[in-house]
């Protein structure tokens, strides 16, 4: 490997405004460590209120990835994903990539479309309704959008972007999901 590869990677990251990037195994331990790193990055933030919101959306997205990722893509128990946090034109963005079973594709698309169609007031009302509902996890109901997605939507400046790509290697049983929010 050329030692130069590192500086070209670094330059590209800088150019794209990347503040944090991770790709690989995801577990709750990895998430807690990433959370710590991100908090340190934000320690001297001029706008703690906005970086707190970035942290919140980051956790919701990566925990969502952990939640949906299949256990055994390759017969081993590791879940994999990638996440990037960056800042461009004064706005933070978070992109999260992970694998989801094909059966979740339409469900996830429907939920995001529904949330994207809501005004901020409607998001807030749906959030409160979800808090009040008897559903214990706040995320499993098939009727409404989950509390996690509503939390991301509450703080997003633009509609949540998503994209699915079917993975041919596994008989299209799985899709890669890319999720992006801008704050």
């Amino acid at each position: 490997m050329e030692i130069d590869l590192f500086s070209s990677f670094k330059n590209q990251a800088l150019e794209k405004g990347i503040v944090f990037y991770y790709s690989g195994k995801i577990s709750q331990n990895a998430i807690a460590t990433m959370g710590d790193v991100l908090k340190h990055r934000f320690e001297n933030s001029e706008n703690p209120s906005s970086t707190r919101k970035v942290f919140s959306s980051f956790i919701e997205m990566i925990q969502n990835a952990l939640h949906y990722s299949p256990q055994s893509l390759d017969g081993n128990a590791e879940k994999i994903g990638a996440v990037a946090v960056g800042k461009q034109d004064g706005q933070y963005f978070i992109i999260c990539g992970n694998v989801v079973g094909r059966e979740f594709v339409s469900r996830i698309s429907d939920k995001i479309d529904m949330v994207n169609g809501m005004s901020k007031e409607e998001v807030k009302a749906a959030y409160k309704a979800q808090l009040r509902s008897d559903d214990t996890t706040g995320d499993e109901t098939s009727k409404g959008a989950g509390l996690g997605l509503l939390t991301i939507a509450r703080d997003s400046a633009l509609p949540i972007e998503y994209h699915f790509k079917s993975i041919a290697e596994y008989d299209n049983q799985y899709s890669e999901l890319h999720l992006k929010t801008i704050l």
Binding site: Q28, A32, T33, S49, R52, S56, K128, L131, G148
Partner: protein
Amino acid sequence: MEDLYIRATNDSPEVDFKYTFNQLTMSGEAYPEDASRFFYPIIMGLVDFLKVNTKPINFNFKLTYFNSASTKMLFNIFQLLNEHSAHQQTVTLNWIYDEEDDTIKDFGDDIAEEFPSLDFNAVTISAA
């Protein structure tokens, strides 16, 4: 009723429920992988305490971050305390937060509005 103490971790809060003094405090951050599993035993213990409690309660809420699944659990806790405050002993909820933290302020406003029987007391601390 025996006191409950749980040490904080990276992703779970410190829980310091001094049942013997009616002082219940929660601080730190809450984003465990399985919020129901973390909070279930805490809520069960609280339910038992509320059954036998005969004095006013102080609940000191000092969490600085909680994910959506933990928010749901906290909501359930405030619901229990609200019921108790309405029909038995007054529960004072001291909502202690950084004055610059809009998210926690807004959630506090929602809790105060949703659970009017709680004696809600917002306490701001200035950023370190």
